[in-house]
Structures are given as structure tokens and as C-alpha cells.
Symmetry: D2
Subunit: 307 residues, 4 copies
């Protein structure tokens, strides 16, 4: 075959073909490329554009649906970035880094572009089109994953408080960007809260949850019929109310294989919901133990014999 | 700052942050995900759909334009895959693998989705949307890069001859897919040529160049005004005629830094063209030495002092 | 400086400078290179040479001492291989893979060569000198690490039963190597036990523990004075009796930082002991919880805020 | 088999199993660990100890011999470090990084320890024993490899001029280390040369070549009988005179496979020599083209079809 003398070049692929460590949580974080310019060209509302955030969330939900029920356990979005947490038993693409990260980026990009007109009906997409880069990071423990998400949500708070004050000084206070920047230099959180309240009558805590907390996306296992869970209203829930689950995280250990399979099926049917709640404290995780406490779906071949 | 106790999680990024080896050619190859199903749902013409190939080429040209004049030196596309060859002096994103590969995949995806309606006006995009995965491979020498491209073009030939015969047996010969597959089992190239000619009156060599050779995309440096190059008609050129260049590849070595800068500027202005010609033999490369023989654009800090 | 124009070459180091994932157990396994030939030239006793195994253990103990009290938590040796388990909070050399693995290999080699004459006084070392290669693997959980060690100890058992029978057939049964190999083809464990017992009067279970179980090396924290631990005789202990510890693994979680520091100091003083006991069952680990259940020494910056 | 349920742990090895990029030069550099303390304990002569450097060279020659005729093309040593350049066609251990680097470190360590008594007959080795760490770096071009070696040799010069002056100020000038350090702060090369000459009557250029140039080790292909090369005296050659070779580097390209095989055999027979000459200028390389200009030994499967 004429091709055979060239096929040696495939061998070079081996040198950059990272397999992500098994039995760890994979975080894939995507970021908008040159979004400073993109948001200016498309006249995003400042400091936050609800249309843009809703579009981000819609694209993120598409990642859940495209990858299937058991791959992504939770996602967190803020501004032009989104983090997808893959289950530690995930073996998609044999955990090949490039395949995983490019696939998530490609799905996200495709839906962002495709759904644009739905969220910005009066703003045709201009070139260069919106694009995203991505990276994968592994975390070995639940504590690490929760700290990762806490890091992003704390960042959301810090940035949003700054931006809210910065744009109030400009939009309501008549300052230039330079003046606002100078005004905020060296200020603490309480100083910004004070500026907002005393000068502009804004109580920061009354700002929209989606701006202050970011967006949390996951499958609402507890709301699937036939569950014994009771419904409970939850502040900040955008799509569906979250329900408390009586089964604590610890009971997962004694579960039989067939029970885990039933749970996996139920999870795959669960609706993908978007909420804007605190994920730093324990409550969120204790009431939704299936997100990271449970092992669901395919058996984790790499978990160890005594688990 | 409330965020600081969580920031340790950034440190984990270091373990999967590959920097591609400097002074090597970077090949980024993207592939359509689940395109077998996608092409069926969207009723692509078999064995080749000229609308789909033109859309692929348009998305690939967008990668050239988005990344700027000096990053991609040449790209080769066939079917639902595209390979982008980055200059060996490329230092974009400090050669971070994840950034490079996700950026190319995201640009390609964005334009593929955005331009769809232009190429398939009567076929609205259905879900799941078309997406692509990607990978990066480094090649140290010009010989390796040319062999990589020869490998893809030889593959194009082998697959296209098979597919052309396979679909002739079905579409004109009335066979089922199983029957056609069985008929072709164990056949050589000359057998397939014979089947095409004797049964269906098809001379394979008269098939469209784009189907037989794939698509080659590059910046047509030689056609930029003020060049001394003479224009020459070239079979298979889709966009612009390629011109011969009198300066042979070897003269690059003695070039001054200012001459290289002039050439880089000229290259950035050069039109991105699509051709369907042989890139296995030497002719293509000898008549377009700027593609891989010349070092253009930013100085290659990693080339070595004696180059 | 004349050197500066060459210094760009340092930049290439970045492409192969892996940092092992934080908060995971690092296993460094070393293997004798070409030891088949080496053992023949130096006339090692078959199937096991107690001098050679003792030399391996002495070299492994040197790795504990050279790297200091808190780096290696346990090591397991069999034949010409040794596995060193580094604590998951280990941050030596910032977890750079090449530094860690070459350092362990170099220490082991240096002591193996240097101590040779002590264990083989009548066999001068011949060239090529004994050398070892090594590799590093990360494991995220205690279960994974225990399974790794169980894998090596089960392998020890399988190989040693085979070798014991193989050499009995040759040394006592007068067979050639080919005949012995053929005799054992397809036999199960019980068949080999039966051959040993019925033909040669050997009860495999009475063979030396060091041959059947391999060598386990760790710091005997419980035997350090001022501990409340009670001494207990343990079969297979070569150096010092291991003592039971009343504090179960779970109590580690509530420990204060100062208590952990005290424990780390105590651990650093603890004697490095060699045993030949079962490490597949739970008993070994439950009675020595400091080996992998406790976090000792330097604080694990990467463990997560809620641990 | 009892072992099978544990064998999944092998799968984790895949995540840290780097294969070095084919068709590149591999540089393995080893460094003495804690040699500052080691040289003090063993009372090395300052600024240079000829016994120690000779021992380093002997250990480095052992690496050439142990790895066989075609793996290492040249090595460069200075102080307690040594760099080994592997041929770009090297496929030893399938270019697995950990195997390559640990093997070189282990061989070097074994011979350093074993040969110690020969070079330091009156200084028994004390613990901790001398050990070395190592790393691997790939370089795609001859220019990069030469610049790497130039970097090390320029560093040798800079350090040795400093150390020679520093120790002259102490040993002959009666200064303390602090005083000497202060004296040299901010001085240029010519200042140090002046200090040496005017205060101590030392002409730096008359210092030993081994101190000023470091040690270059390679196989002296040209000196193998049946070569047409003529012998020529060369300053700084320790072992064997190097001979000029009339065949220029460029003729390599037209060589037949059988001629290359003859040359490879001849190279394997060639004596490993140690020299202390300039390797920054072209002369060294032009007169010994087999070192990096020739492809010898096993065919380079990854060089490309047109080479």
C-alpha cells in the first residue's frame, strides 16, 4: 500500500497523548477568548448581561445532554467561563486529555453560536465569532473538588462586587473608567458595600442571585418520580425546585451493584437544572449527595477492591 | 481575602500543562464527532458532498484568519477531518498544548455552525449539533511534516477510490451495502478502477480533484503585488492561481532580518487560497518555498545561533 | 555575557518536566536491569538467594534514611524489584517526576554497589555493574495503594511457588530446565503444592516467609518509647517486633495540628524495620495506621480545606 | 488467578509514561546531589580536584560502554554534572523517558561508587553516599544540540574563572570566603584575569585545559584502523589523538544503507576518548562529523522518507 511508508508519522502522536489519572475528578474549564472585545462589539449590558449569562447556561446544559447522563456531575459558570466536573469513574475516551477537553469546548462553542439569535434576537453575530479555550485538571478528593468550586464562587463574589460598584460609579455616578478605577483602588468589601449603599442606594445583597452566586448546573436526581423525596422551595432555583433527599451520603457504601444501576438509570432521566445558590457551605452538598458523594453509572474499575 | 484558602487548587493545573517542544512543527488535526450519524441525518450526498467539503474549507480558512498571518503555514482537509500545520517558530500561547488545540477546535466549530445555512440553505441544522475533537502532534523536521501530509493525502486517495466504487455498486449497480462490501473485499486499486470503468463507464482519473486530492489551504505569498513572480495557470486551483517563485528555498539562509520582516508582512497580506493538487511530490513545495522552507514572521528564538 | 545567547536552550526543559499530581500517593518502583545475566555471573542461589534479598533490603532502608523521616511511608521488595510508597502530602522536589525517580534509583544503586562486599564477601562484583531502572506512578486513594501492594505480593506468591517447584524438579528431581518447564505447563497452585509435597517432601507453607511474602519496610512508630503501645510478638519480623496500636485510623481526623507535629517527630525517630508478613488482608494496616491512614509530617497543603 | 483483581492498578502507569519525541536529540543531564557537603566531607581540592574529575569521566565512559556503540554520541562533563547526548535515531526502551534517564543515572552512580577507591585511595567513602539526579530534554536540530553544549561549556568557563580567582584570594591572598566574595562582586572577566595575573602571577590561559574547557567524551571513529585518516596531534587530548577526517559531513546524505552499516560497525569498535577542547567553534564538529552529522547504526525509522 502506497500509504505504508508514511504511516510511521502516527508514532509521533504517542509523545503528546496524555491519559488523565484514573479515579480522580476531572475539571474541564472553558474561557471565552478575547471576550473583552466581543462584549464591547455586541454591546453587552454592564456589569452583567442576563441574556449572555442565560446563553452560557444553555450552552452548558447542552454539554450535559450531549455527553450523556453519567459523565458530567456538576458545572459552575460565571461571566464567560464554565467549569465542568466529570465523575471520578468517568472513562470516556479512555480519559484521553485532548479528546475530552476539545469535545467539551466544541459542544459548548457549537451551541453558543447556534443559540445566539435566541438570546440576542436584535444583535446579529459579528466576526470574529465567539470562541472558547479549555483545559483539564485532575483532583483526587471530594475536598479538592469542593475547594475548586468554592474558589470559583468566591472569585465570582469578589469580581461581581467590584464590577457592580465600578459600573455604578460610571453609570450613576458619572465617573470615567479611570476615575472609578482610582476610587476603588485599595478598597475592601465593606467599603464597596458602603459606596453602593450610601451613594446609590443599592443594597448589594438584593442584587440578582445569578450575578452574586453564578450558575450551578446538575441533574436533579431527587425530583425524579418514584423517589421518596419531598419537594421544598429553594431560593435562587431557576428551573426546578430542588428537593431534600433523606438518604445521607454515607449509605452509598453499602449499596448493591443492582441498586447502583437503578440509581444510574434514574439519574440519566433526571432533569438538568440551573440554580444560583451557595456551594461553599455544606448544605448544598449534603442535600444533593448524588452529585459527588455517590458513585453512579458505570462501575469504577479503578476505585479499588475494598471500596 | 476569602478566596485565598481555596487558591491552592490552582497548583494542580501544573500536572497537566504540557508545553509543546519548541522549534518543531505543530500539527493540529481535528475530526468530526459521530459524523457517520450526522451525515445520514442531514442527507449528505454520497460518496462526496461538495457542499459539506466547501463548508469544511470555509471553516478552515477562518482558522487562518482568526489566528493571524504567521501562525498556520498550511492546512489539509479530507472528509470530516482537517490538519493545520503551525510554523515551527510559532510561540502562540507559549505553545501550551491545551490552549492551542482547543482554540483551533473552537474556531473551526464556530464557523462550521455559523456558515452552515450558507452551504446547506435547505437543510436546517438538527441536534446534536456538529462538533469536532482535536489533537496536537509535534514533528521535528520538514521531512516529517511532508510525510505527515503525504500520509493524509494517500489516505484520501485510498478511501475515495473505495467509496467511489462502493457507492457506484449501490447507486448504479443496485447492490445493497452488504453486497458492495463483499464485492470489494480483497480488491486492489486496479481492480476498483476496472470495476468503475467496465461496469459504470467511470474513469476514476476524471473524478473531481477535490474528491481525489483533498483540499490544500495556504497563503499565496507569490501572488501579492510587487512580487516579481509570474502568474501561471494551475489545475485544481479553486480560488486563486498559484504563481511560480524564482527564489529557491535555499536562499532563505542568507536572508537578513529586515528582509525576513518584509517577507512576513507580505505573507500576512497574502490571500488564503484553496487548491486540490498533489502534495506528495516535490513540485508543490519547490514552487511555494515560503510554506515550510522559509522562516517568516517572528524570529525563531529557538532555532539555534548558527541558523 | 557570552553565555546568554545559548541560554534559550533551557526553555526546552519545560516540555518534559512533569509534576506529579498533588494529594496522591506516589509509587516509585525500581527493577534490576539484566538481572537474569547478573545473577548467573554472580552465581546466585536458586530459586532464592538470601544474601541478595538482604542486600536489596539494606539498599531500600538506605532510601528511607537518605530521604528523611516523612517521605517514604512503606516499601515492598521482591526478587530484584522494590516499590517505595511516598506519602500523599510529599512535596519533595515540588513533586518533579524526574528528580524523584532518579534520586531513589541513584540512592538504591549507590548502596547496593557499596554494600555488595558485605553480603557477598567471596564474590567480587564483576562488570557490567548491577544497575536499576525506575518509574513513578500516582494513586489517588488508600484503596488503590493497598491494591498496588496486594498486586505485588500476590505476584510474589505466584512466582515463588512456580520457582520453588521448578528448581526442585531440577535440583532434586534431576530434570533439565526444559523438562521442568514442560512439567509445570498448565498446572494450578494446588498441583505445584502437590508436586512439592509428594515428590520432594516439601510443605510449601514451611518455606521461609521472606521468600513467600517478600519484604515490607516501614518506620515502626508504635515501638518508639513514650508510646502507650504494648509489645506483641509477630511472626516474620526480622528486625523489631511490631506492636499493636490502640488508636484506630479514624481518630486521625480530629487531631490538632500540634498533635500531628508531635507524631511526625516521633515518626522521624522510629526505627526502620523489615518484616515478611501478609499485607493483603486488613490486619497489617489496622495495627499500623500511621503508615497510610495518618497524615504526618508537613501539612498537606493540597488536602483540601475541609479535611 | 488471585492476582487478577489487583491488576487494574497497572493501568495507572499510563498517565505518567512519557515517550520522548522521535527524531530529536535526547540530552540526559545528571547532577550530583548535595555535592557541596559531599566535597567538603571528602576534602576535595579547591577550586578543582583532578581526582574527582577523572572519576566523573571514568563513570561517564562506563555509560558509553554499558549502553553500547550507537546510543550516546557525545558527553560533556564539568564539575559534578555530566550531559549525555543520545543520537536522534535512538530508539532504546522505545524512548520511554523514565527508563532512559534512570538507566543513565544508575549506571553513572554504580561506577562512581565502585571506582571511588581507585581515584581516592586514601579517602574511604562516607555516608551519605554520593548520588545523582537526572533529567531528559529533547532538541530537534543540530543547532540546538550544539547550542546546548556551548551553553554548558560557556558556563564552565564563567564558573571556573570565578572559582579560580575566588580560591586564589583565599588560598594565596589570605582572604576569608566572605572577603573574597565581596572582592569579586560586580567584576567582569577581564577584572578577574587581572586580579589573577597582577596579584598572584597566574595567567588564566595557562590553567589546565580540563578545568577551563571541561571534558568531552566520544567514540573516536576516525582512529579505527583501515580509515584513511591521518593522525594529528591535538592539545588537550587525554587518551588518544584525534585525527582529521577528509569526508565532509555533507557526503553522508548520499550514503548507501550498506555503507552506513559498515560505518556503524566501525563506530562500535572505536575507542571512547576524553578530550578538553573547544566545542563552541565549528572546528571540533567539522573534523568529527560522525558525532552529530552522520546517521549511524540502526536506521532512523522516524527521519522521513526523503532523507
Amino acid at each position: 500500500m502506497a500509504n505504508s511508508k508514511f504511516e510511521y508519522v502516527k508514532h509521533f502522536e504517542q509523545s503528546n497523548a496524555t491519559h488523565l489519572l484514573p479515579n480522580t475528578y476531572i475539571v474541564i474549564r472553558i474561557d471565552g477568548r478575547s471576550f473583552h472585545r466581543f462584549t464591547a462589539v455586541h454591546e453587552f449590558t454592564k456589569p452583567n448581561d442576563i441574556r449572555a449569562l442565560s446563553l452560557m447556561n444553555a450552552a452548558a446544559k447542552a454539554v450535559f445532554h450531549d455527553l450523556g447522563g453519567e459523565v458530567v456531575s456538576i458545572a459552575y459558570g460565571v461571566s464567560d467561563e464554565f467549569s465542568f466536573i466529570l465523575r471520578k469513574e468517568c472513562n470516556l475516551f479512555e480519559r484521553r486529555e485532548a479528546k475530552l477537553v476539545t469535545t467539551v469546548v466544541s459542544i459548548f462553542t457549537a451551541y453558543y453560536v447556534s443559540l445566539w439569535a435566541e438570546y440576542f434576537p436584535d444583535k446579529p453575530l459579528q466576526r470574529p465569532l465567539p470562541t472558547f479555550d479549555g483545559r483539564a485538571v485532575c483532583y483526587p478528593s471530594i475536598e479538592n473538588v469542593r475547594d475548586y468550586l468554592s474558589w470559583r464562587q468566591a472569585d465570582c463574589h469578589i469580581n461581581n462586587l467590584y464590577n457592580t460598584t465600578f459600573w455604578a460609579l460610571i453609570q450613576q455616578g458619572g465617573m470615567t473608567a479611570q476615575e472609578a478605577e482610582k476610587e476603588l483602588m485599595g478598597t475592601l468589601s465593606k467599603d464597596k458595600n458602603e459606596i453602593l449603599f450610601s451613594r446609590f442606594g443599592i443594597n448589594y445583597n438584593n442584587e440578582e442571585e445569578i450575578f452574586r452566586k453564578g450558575s450551578i448546573i446538575y441533574r436533579n436526581y431527587a425530583a425524579v418520580p418514584d423517589s421518596t423525596a419531598e419537594t421544598e422551595e429553594k431560593a435562587g432555583a431557576e428551573t426546578a425546585p430542588t428537593t431534600t433527599v433523606t438518604v445521607p451520603a454515607e449509605t452509598q457504601k453499602g449499596k448493591s451493584r443492582s441498586q447502583q444501576k437503578r440509581e444510574a438509570k434514574k439519574l440519566a432521566k433526571a432533569e438538568v437544572v440551573v440554580e444560583h445558590v451557595d456551594i461553599i457551605k455544606d448544605t448544598f452538598w449534603e442535600t444533593r449527595p448524588w452529585i459527588i458523594h455517590w458513585t453512579l453509572g458505570r462501575p469504577n474499575e479503578y476505585a479499588g477492591t475494598s471500596q
